[in-house]
């Protein structure tokens, strides 16, 4: 119980420290790193739910991210929706698309889902490029306006400064991770892990794998779509590069290094890896070489990710001779 309170206190302090950063430094570069961390951590957190907890390798996250971005951009610029409503609509649309992809492919196998999710991500780029009347093709939708959000109590918040987007995305990331944490620490998360670890056994115990898989996919798509809707207004443009493989690659690295199925491991690796390519900027020529070296070293030291390493240490306790229940 005391460990639980200590952890809660650390989390509150950590979040407070992150929110205090703009007060300490107005450095736009630091804030940009923060925005990048907040955004990627939501994407990797969602991927961790789908892949790390439920065992479904998914390449579709970037598609949900981009669908959210395009939906929010179009609804705000052409229909006059607020950013709140546009981003939420982007998240809901992404979740619906996720349910369609999941329901159609998971009836076959989890490999089918991996392949369909990859095809879906590639298809998104083609649609964004070719459906010119909706997406304006390769040009994308530039010059997204500075949004003004209405807050409870009649306040209006104009997102004019870099710090504003930092607050917005960090705030959303906190909410998103709270939701993910609530799910993975509940018995829903336990059932998801059971499905990943041994699906036939779970079925034989009355667990319906399809419903839990669809829950994980829909929730991760909802979060990815919503954060996509917010992020494009920070970029002030949405174009087909929002579906770039770079996003998929980064999310996957974050989850694999952090340890699939480890909430804190993936959150921590998201923070480190969001900053790492920039921390290595002191040497322009060797930057990406060093980044690669760090990734390889991490994989050699922690084959199951940081979370897997912690899990193994916990397990070793039970293997020591003479030790039974504590």
């Amino acid at each position: 119980m005391r460990a639980g309170w200590l952890r809660a206190l650390l989390v509150v302090l950590g979040v407070a420290a992150l929110f205090a950063i703009p007060k300490v430094t107005g450095n736009e570069y630091v804030l940009a790193l923060g925005v990048s961390f907040a955004t990627f951590s939501v994407l990797s957190g969602g991927l961790n739910l789908v892949y790390g907890y439920t065992g479904l390798l998914s390449f579709a996250q970037v598609g949900f991210f981009g669908i959210g971005g395009y939906t929010a951009a179009l609804l705000v610029t052409e229909q006059g929706w607020s950013l709140w409503a546009g981003a939420a609509a982007g998240g809901v649309l992404a979740a619906l698309v996720g349910l369609v992809i999941g329901y159609s492919s998971l009836r076959l196998s989890r490999h089918a889902f991996a392949i369909v999710s990859l095809s879906f991500a590639l298809l998104c780029v083609i649609v964004a490029l070719e459906w010119v009347s909706l997406t304006r093709g390769a040009m994308g939708i530039p010059g997204l306006p500075i949004p003004t959000l209405s807050l409870p109590g009649g306040l209006r918040w104009r997102l004019g400064r870099p710090a504003d987007f930092y607050y917005l995305l960090l705030g959303f990331a906190v909410v998103a991770h709270a939701v993910i944490y609530l799910v993975v620490t509940s018995r829903l998360g336990r059932a998801m892990r059971a499905i990943k670890l041994n699906e036939p056994l779970a079925q034989s115990q009355g667990v319906n794998p399809l419903s839990y898989k669809l829950l994980a996919i829909a929730l991760s798509a909802l979060l990815a779509g919503t954060v996509g809707g917010l992020f494009v207004f920070y970029l002030t443009i949405v174009d087909p590069s929002i579906f770039d493989f770079y996003y998929t690659e980064t999310m996957l690295i974050m989850v694999i290094i952090g340890g699939p199925g480890s909430f804190w491991g993936v959150l921590g690796s998201s923070a480190v890896l969001a900053a790492l390519p920039d921390l290595l900027r002191f040497t322009t020529d060797l930057r990406m070489v060093l980044y690669g070296a760090v990734l390889i070293a991490a994989m050699l030291l922690f084959p199951g990710g940081v979370g897997g390493w912690l899990q193994r240490r916990r397990r070793a306790r039970w293997r020591r001779p003479g030790v039974t229940a504590p």
């Binding site: 609530l182 799910v183 509940s186 018995r187 829903l188 336990r190 059932a191 892990r193 059971a194 670890l197 041994n198 036939p200 056994l201 779970a202 079925q203 034989s204 115990q205 009355g206 667990v207 319906n208 794998p209 829950l215 199925g261 899990q311 916990r314 397990r315 039970w318 293997r319 039974t324 229940a325 504590p326």
Partner: protein, 264 residues
């Protein structure tokens, strides 16, 4: 006569040209322990897979306590109070023993997803009940000391015991144990035998599929014998031991003739 708990009528399963299970019918009375034996490839495991919904049957119907189970998916059959274990012993290696058991109870306690997320009193009550039952079952199978350990540290025989405990978690009416003692040492076999007796005494009906004929003959008062997908004998162990068709199935026609009607 009371109606049987499990009724199987004309179960048939074909793989391309081969008929693995050929028009098998039987009934299992509530409270009994029935053995299902047969030589390799006689269709024992196929029957288990069909009855539990893991493989679609090509013909036949089966019901538990009057509820039709034919064609249902595995999780629905499990929720209908018929559970099973697997020949290749299965466990959630990264979950604790207690969590291994609690997963097996959570789909049948009527607590919905939103209640599970809200963590209200309904969920807490259900989880407390599951934990209590889980600890009882771990004590029954002799694994109580490891309740908080991950299942991955268990030995093969201990994993078999854990699987049996998990199959009992949701208070099923009928449990099918698929080769519970295959590859297990004699001490552990006696332990599994005791556990089966104890669970049966608590009112669980069991079907035990085994290669180990001595184990089945000692444990069950009724044995069904399969050969090449057909039911060739059904009765008490004494009768089965001397049935010429059973001897022929296990030893071949000539072997059975040479042995006379002696014990195996």
């Amino acid at each position: 006569m009371t109606a049987a708990l499990l009724q199987v009528r004309g179960l048939t399963k074909r793989y391309l040209g081969l008929t693995a299970v050929d028009d098998v019918s039987y009934e299992v009375e509530a409270g009994s322990v029935v053995g299902l034996i047969g030589p390799n490839g006689s269709g024992k495991s196929t029957i288990v897979d069909c009855l539990s919904g893991f493989q679609p049957a090509d013909g036949g119907r089966w019901s538990l306590d009057g509820h039709e189970l034919t064609g249902l998916s595995p999780h629905r059959i499990a929720r209908a109070a018929m559970t099973r274990t697997f020949q290749t012993v299965r466990a959630y290696d990264e979950l604790t023993l207690l969590d291994n058991l609690c997963v097996a109870a959570q789909e049948s306690d009527g607590v919905g997803w939103l209640q599970a997320l809200g963590r209200g009193s309904r969920l807490r009550g259900a989880e407390r009940a599951a934990e209590a039952r889980g600890r009882d079952l771990l004590a029954t199978v002799g694994l109580a000391d490891y309740a908080g350990a991950p299942a991955g540290i268990l030995s093969y025989g201990q994993r078999k015991l854990l699987a049996i405990a998990a199959s009992m978690m949701a208070r099923p009416r009928l449990v099918v144990l698929d080769e519970p003692v295959a590859g297990v040492n004699p001490t552990m076999i006696r332990r599994i035998e005791q556990v089966i007796h104890q669970l049966n005494a608590e009112g669980v009906t069991l079907i035990i599929v085994e290669h180990n004929v001595d184990f089945i003959m000692a444990l069950c008062r009724r044995v069904i014998v399969l050969d090449a997908g057909r039911k060739i004998a059904d009765g008490p162990p004494a009768l089965i031991r001397s049935d010429p068709r059973v001897l022929a199935a296990y030893l071949g026609q000539r072997g059975a003739a040479e042995l006379g009607h002696g014990r195996r």
